[in-house]
Symmetry: C2
Subunit: 584 residues, 2 copies
């Protein structure tokens, strides 16, 4: 009998379940055996096997993000543990709760050249919120209480603002086989039942503080509400009400969850990136105050404007008490739940005059920009930006749109327009990596369907291993690969002028025919060459089961030219409008 081990691990797993962890992503290994078996035995845990630990950890990240609840990760000792680092870094910066459980060699096998023993103590450095080197398994009542408390606390720390990953390292001695039976659960229940329940409150301000804020804002006509990546239920309605109360346009990043949904879109400005690219226009349309929620939006022109105009009063609201302020020009940092902040502040607002010239101007300018950008609808060529215009119409209700980094997220910013559907938009914007995107999206697909991922070819290549999960677990997902044969974003950067080494160092064409690998993972592959095909296959794949990969082959050169042409047109049309208005 291996009682110490069995009871200790079972108590830990049981408590994890009791505090709400239902999913664990497991990579095969020997040292982690007791946890893997006990988890597989627990009636309320879903074990998701994922062989490549890098993909496994991004899979857990996507699932936790979509669930807004912690997901556990389990792997064996050695480099398996090291493979988690990229996803943990992403989870840390994007505030996703993960409970990372790593099996380790016991103390006497460390740093003596024993096999698969590496230094796992604090291996994720500052990229986890909490690290614990756990005690060796024992089954005294005290140690069962200890291990239960650690499980509850791990989930609590992961869920406390700012949410993020925690790491528990378990030294385990052989023999590693637990002796779990149906009685084990009642046995540990009898010995030490569930230990602690954690309730996490939300930060809010005093009435007086809201009143002062309202007084500060009431007489400022020119304001922006800026919403970056933020995905909290209730926020869309609350911030819409605040915008209505203050007559401030909402500059809404595609990840703000404000471009889709049933809330009113009257104040939503989607095209601010295109509008603000022209510095002359930007200067005319500058605000006096900015209220900012979520992380910094993807738009570089917006960032540059905030940096260059410290006279704009910038109020950063962060419900999770972080410091997302790369502009160095913020004047106020407010730690208050974002939804609470908007609702309470809106309540304070006495109705402002019905019409605001400022809000009207922004509404009009956004309309002009959108009209230009939406001309792409008529485009026959496979222009990358058009993918998102098409998707606005094609995506079914309740779908989850996962957007890859580098070009896709920028194109989503420019071309994914406001709509009334319930579409959730997700991306890995903590560290903006092109790694692990396939797995993150597939992890999210476990929670929300239909899932559509838009991804570039380099990023798709980077996580091809992630596709195995789709095959083994029969996940339903549509992956749209925009294949411009290399790193498309570099064509927009100064590097593009450096002809001599550009293709070798930055363009990096791979000439991969993804059809082969998609077939290996039992996926349906379509290379589309026209938009009617695209529409047909997207519709078909979101309505059917399994993995579907739809590839569009595009040209990096044409892509950058078309983008620049459109931005120039936006700029011309808005300049015309502003000139006309001035002369009226």
């Amino acid at each position: 009998m291996n009682n110490d081990l069995t009871l200790y691990v079972a108590a830990f797993v049981d408590e994890l379940v009791k505090v709400g962890v239902q999913d664990v992503v497991v990579s095969p290994g020997s040292r982690s055996t007791p946890f893997a078996i006990v988890m597989a035995e627990h009636p309320a845990i879903n074990v998701h096997m994922n062989i490549d630990e890098r993909s496994a950890s991004f899979f857990a990240l996507g699932m936790a993000k979509a669930k807004r609840k912690p997901v556990a990760l389990l792997c064996t000792s050695g480099t398996a543990v090291a493979n988690y680092l990229p996803a943990i870094v992403e989870a840390y910066y994007s505030r996703v709760p993960l409970i990372v459980l790593t099996a380790d060699r016991p103390h006497e096998l460390r740093d003596v050249g024993a096999p698969q023993a590496i230094d796992q103590i604090h291996i994720y450095g500052k990229h986890v919120k909490w690290f614990v080197e756990m005690a060796l398994p024992e089954s005294s009542n005290e140690m069962l209480r200890y291990v239960r408390m650690m499980a509850a606390r791990a989930a609590a720390v992961a869920m406390t603002a700012p949410q993020g990953p925690v790491h528990l390292n378990f030294p385990l001695r052989e023999p590693l086989m637990p002796t779990i039976t149906e009685q084990t659960w009642s046995q540990i229940e009898a010995k030490e039942p569930s230990y602690i329940h954690v309730t996490i409150g939300k930060k809010t301000l005093e009435d007086e503080q809201f009143r002062q804020l309202y007084e500060q804002l009431a007489h400022v006509e020119k304001g922006w509400i800026v919403c970056g990546d933020i995905d909290k239920p209730g926020f869309a309605e609350a911030v819409t009400k605040l915008a209505e109360a203050l007559h401030y346009p909402i500059l809404a990043d595609p990840l703000s969850q404000l471009r889709s949904g049933t809330h009113t879109k009257d104040y939503i400005v989607e095209s601010y990136d295109a509008i603000l690219k022209d510095e002359t226009i930007a200067k005319i349309l500058l605000p006096d105050v900015v209220i900012r929620f979520g992380s910094m939006p993807v738009s570089k022109p917006l960032l540059m404007i905030l940096k260059r105009h410290p006279s704009i009063a910038q109020i950063v609201v962060d419900g999770e008490s972080g410091w997302r302020e790369p502009t160095y020009t913020a004047s106020q940092m407010i730690y208050c739940d974002e939804t609470e902040f908007c609702s309470r502040l809106a309540q304070f607002s006495t109705p402002l005059p019905r019409k605001s010239e400022w809000a009207e101007t922004w509404r009009y300018v956004n309309k002009i920009a959108k009209e230009v950008l939406l001309e792409v609808k008529k485009e026959n060529a496979l222009f990358e930006g058009k993918v998102f215009i098409e998707l606005t119409e094609l995506l079914p209700e309740q779908s989850l749109l996962f957007v890859g980094n580098s070009m896709p997220i920028r194109d989503a910013d420019t071309f994914f327009m406001a709509n009334g559907k319930q579409i959730r938009v997700m991306a890995n914007r903590g560290a903006n990596g092109i790694d692990g995107i396939v797995s993150s999206a597939l992890g999210a697909s476990v929670v929300a369907e239909p899932l559509v991922l838009v991804i570039g070819d380099l990023s798709f290549y980077h996580d091809l291993n992630g596709l195995l999960a789709a095959k083994l677990h029969r996940l339903n997902a549509t992956i749209i690969v925009i294949n411009n044969n290399g790193g498309g974003i570099f064509s927009f950067l100064p590097q593009a002028k450096h002809k001599k080494h550009f293709e070798t160092l930055f363009g990096t064409p791979t000439d991969l025919q993804f059809e082969h690998v998609v077939r290996m993972y039992d996926g349906d592959y379509q290379n589309v060459t026209a938009w009617d095909e695209f529409r047909y296959y997207v519709k078909r794949s979101t309505e059917s089961e399994g993995l579907h990969v739809i590839e569009l082959r595009t040209s990096r050169e044409e892509n950058v030219a078309k983008h620049r042409f459109l931005w120039d047109r936006v700029s011309q049309e808005i300049r015309k409008f502003l000139k006309k208005r001035r002369t009226q």
Copy 2:
């Protein structure tokens, strides 16, 4: 003009070259632009592009290991940096010199939610020998001296015993484009020429210390020389001479580089793992003293014997002053260059009596074991172990055999027998991961050809991305995939008895048809079903260019049964011999 940046980076790169770094593995990115361009411009540096940073870092590891010289790595900021961790951990424990160069955001963009900014300070923790947060680029003479010195020192630290990875983190501000011209090199040469030359000595002992050692050993008949992973030119000849002088058998791990080569094989024992599996036999053949070189061999029975018999005087010789001693029974730790140690100690030895019964017994026992194991030659079934028996004959002169972890390295231990060819055998035995093996082998293939990698299906899957390097850089490599559809090693462990969850948690069959992915990477794929086909395709692929993947589909169940049958036969035959000898 971006003079500060250009001169600073050029001086660094120039110094790297001067201290002997010729290769850098680069992953595309924006922040790392100045280094990438300057390196591409430097006439004496080979830039190896590799898009997936995890594969890139293992590629660099394999190259550095094969070269026995530092290789540099370069990537941009963000999760790119995190993807290096598994290979860095492996490099640290397997003592491979790597110079890791990561571009970073400057201080003002850190920890404020700026894009692609993560905490890169000490991100590899204790798994690098040296970390430096570099100064921002400046081009004063002082700072050019500083940056040159850092380059020289990085290479020196990486090459100083124990060798390993070092990490230099470079904060860089925009604009990132260097203005490099042909004159840059002469310009920096004129300003601050090469700065320092580092000479690294070897540890040795005093004559008196050798004399005492010799006296200690001279009257001990029953000794073993145990050689684990060690790959130092000259060692094979030196340790052979020591064995001859002391009449001690050499228990030679496949990574000891002692099973192949032109040195005499009289004292080489390859089959000790199979012999020592039988505890009764092991007890009869126990030594009184063990002299151990290199890391702990892969053989578990050997490890257990050393652990269980603290009365055996165990002398660990480590030229790099580490602590590779997981048995906790060593009596002496000697920090002395291994080749020097063997040569000097052998010189002290007055000729011992010509015949040693002890050495003869071991020679005979090894012969018996080999005869049993080599019966597999006649086997028609696709038995995994036979791969290495076949390879002993098939591998051409000067080839490099790279062996995957988990089952392949254990099968190499059992079935790769002594031979007179110059075959170098490599594996990633620092942390024994199944990750990054394809890339490590391909990195080594840049240095040594023909290269043959033997790898299991899970490990092959884990680093399929590594194959892109073979396609893009037209590498020549033969990969033999032993596909038992899952984790074969678990069938040998107690987990195998746990029928309920075994296949789900440990067996993890993937049912992948690798042919598809091999085609995507322009490789030649062959599924062999008989040994004559195997021989034909191995021969053909080692004689031709490009990537060749030869797959053998085997059965996990049959494999474990056949291994156990053979070990049992070895045990029976040796017991017979020992009994006969006792009764003589």
